[in-house]
């Protein structure tokens, strides 16, 4: 039974400075990583994945963090306009451009949903539908851009995929062979360290889906991941000149990386 209706909030009460509610136990304010892992992540049901999507302060990078029970957080930091540095002719689709487009679509959608123009006027109905359908298409296109440009090759982080160890190991081996064949830094050195990627990086590849699916065009996403893999090697001290690799770009921002927190 509610007393909302006859509840009176006194002026004094409203003017009071809020008091911090004392926690039931005397826990420290900040958590250690272990506590965070135990209290927030390891309690996740095994079939659940939490992925936080946030922005850096400059609003030009997307920060994706994937949490699964029993795993340390997997963090990806994706500059939203990273393609720009590879293709200078490309129109910039940064966060502000994306958000502006989204808000404009919402505004137009809201307006047309309540549009009270005289539908008796000849052609008004057709016009209304044409506008709604165009907006529908515009939204679908925006979402394709968000996926292709912002997420790019990293969209696999969202994939709900099966994890079959045999297949994953085999794929990892094939990938190692391919990199060995194409990366100058791995050629001519018989004792090159074997590449051991975090399994979640392998899953970024497998999460892209099956290239046999004709509706999927994975060239661009795979390219994005290749740059990423080469970056990982760079961070680990391997000298990979991008112009020596079979990539079509020499200037490239090194800014995205995967961090492992433990």
């Amino acid at each position: 039974v509610s007393r909302i209706e006859n509840e009176i909030t006194s002026k004094e009460k409203l003017l009071q400075w809020p008091v911090t509610v004392k926690a039931s136990s005397d826990k420290p304010v900040s958590l250690t990583w272990t506590q965070f892992q135990e209290e927030y992540i390891d309690i996740l049901p095994s079939a659940w994945t939490a992925i936080s999507i946030s922005l850096n302060d400059a609003e030009d990078e997307l920060l994706l963090t994937r949490y699964r029970s029993g795993q340390s957080p997997f963090i990806l930091r994706l500059p939203m306009a990273r393609h720009k540095s590879r293709d200078l002719d490309e129109e910039i689709f940064d966060f502000h451009a994306g958000k502006r487009e989204m808000l404009e679509i919402i505004e137009l959608a809201n307006f047309s949903a309540h549009d009270a123009r005289h539908m008796s006027v000849k052609g008004a109905k057709t016009q209304w539908w044409a506008e709604r359908e165009a907006l529908d298409k515009r939204l679908a296109e925006l979402l394709v851009n968000v996926e292709n440009i912002w997420l790019g090759g990293f969209r696999g982080v969202f994939a709900q995929q099966r994890r079959e160890q045999n297949a994953l190991v085999k794929f990892q081996k094939e990938l190692q062979k391919i990199l060995g064949r194409h990366l100058p830094s791995r050629q001519g050195r018989s004792q090159a360290k074997p590449l051991a990627f975090d399994s979640r990086i392998i899953e970024l590849f497998t999460g892209l889906g099956d290239p046999s699916d004709e509706e999927l065009d994975l060239d661009e996403p795979l390219m994005d991941l290749m740059y990423f893999v080469v970056d990982i090697l760079q961070f680990n001290g391997e000298k990979c000149a991008y112009d020596e690799i079979d990539f079509d770009s020499v200037s490239f921002s090194y800014r995205y990386c995967a961090l492992r927190l433990s």
Binding site: D136, E174, L222, M223
Partner: protein
């Protein structure tokens, strides 16, 4: 220009997928924890995310709270079903404990005509409210005494209960807010956003279904019917139960427009000798006679978006805040 390294990796990836013993994924669920500036985007409808079971929450603390609630609920009702090896998959609510609020403003006649016969198929223990609209105290009562609340009306129902009233509830139910912009949150720059859906969440609601922007009623109704069907709340309605806009009275302007559209599209259907809307409906009914695992509310919402004629402008607006909720 196709690079050799990409071609080869593509081949390796193809081999990988050929090796998989099964492509089936069961009960995988993703919770998006969204930054305050990112709620407006329908992330769930990105091409590679669409059709997945996805919900959203504003923070990991909200997620933690829900998991702890599930656990305490589980330990308190540890009767027969608590086999220790299977961990919780979501929140379970009985199909018998629900309330519906249908067209309380009295002007959504099409929605009422579509939903009323379907709502009548629900267990007799349900509480159904239409006009006259409930008072805030009544709303508060409805919300605190049921585990599921279906709202079909304008907006998020803030006309009947303010978000402050929702926040005061000791335990808000799972809610469907089938109205315009019912899940839209207002951004406040560097401060946390506000909105009805967040009020439900802060009052402990396991899940809230709503729309990120304004949708038109007919598509919204189609999606509701489909979602309820997938979720297991009701059966697929019999053919031609959907009214074809014959109400010429006090309906929303857009609805009249859609009436015109139906006539226009009918020509197309006659030409293609098959009603897009009724044929698949029948097929799914046959399938549902085979007992299968129950779908969660998030799976139901993922599956209902394509029931809309405008799959993005209306379909993508539908989202779920919270965690997976199942009917038991």
């Amino acid at each position: 220009m196709k690079l050799q390294i990409v071609v080869e990796t593509g081949d390796a990836l193809r081999n990988y997928h050929a090796m998989l013993l099964s492509s089936e994924i069961t009960n995988e669920h993703t919770i998006l924890i969204l930054d305050k500036k990112l709620h407006a985007f329908p992330w769930e409808s990105l091409p590679s995310l669409r059709n997945q079971s996805i919900s959203r929450l504003p923070s990991l603390a909200d997620l933690q709270q829900r998991i702890l609630d599930l656990r305490s609920l589980e330990s308190s009702t540890s009767d027969i079903s608590s086999s220790p090896e299977d961990d919780v998959q979501g929140h379970f609510i009985p199909r018998s404990s629900g309330a519906s609020i249908l067209n309380p403003s009295g002007d959504l006649t099409n929605t009422q005509a579509t939903m009323q016969p379907i709502l009548k198929t629900l267990p007799s223990s349900w509480l159904h409210t239409t006009v006259p609209a409930p008072s805030e105290a009544q709303m508060s009562n409805i919300l605190s005494s049921h585990e599921l609340m279906l709202y079909f009306g304008h907006g998020s129902g803030a006309q009947y209960i303010r978000s402050r009233g929702v926040k005061k509830l000791t335990k808000a139910p799972t809610a469907w807010l089938m109205g315009c912009s019912s899940a839209a949150v207002t951004e406040h720059g560097e401060f946390e956003p506000s909105g009805m859906v967040l009020a439900y969440l802060s009052a402990g609601s396991p899940a809230v279904v709503g729309t990120l922007w304004d949708v038109t009623d007919k598509d919204c109704d189609k999606a509701s019917v489909k979602a309820g069907e997938i979720w297991g709340l009701w059966d697929a309605p019999a053919k031609e139960e959907m009214p074809k806009g014959k109400n010429k009275g006090k309906q929303r302007e857009v609805e009249k427009v859609r009436g015109g559209r139906v006539a226009e599209r009918r020509k197309f259907f006659e030409a293609s000798a098959g009603d897009e809307a009724s044929a698949p409906l029948k097929k799914e009914r046959d399938e549902s006679s085979v007992p299968k695992q129950k779908a969660s509310l998030t799976q139901a919402i993922a599956g209902c978006r394509d029931a809309c004629y405008l799959k993005y402008l209306n379909g993508a607006a539908l989202v779920v805040y919270g965690i997976p909720v199942y009917l038991k």
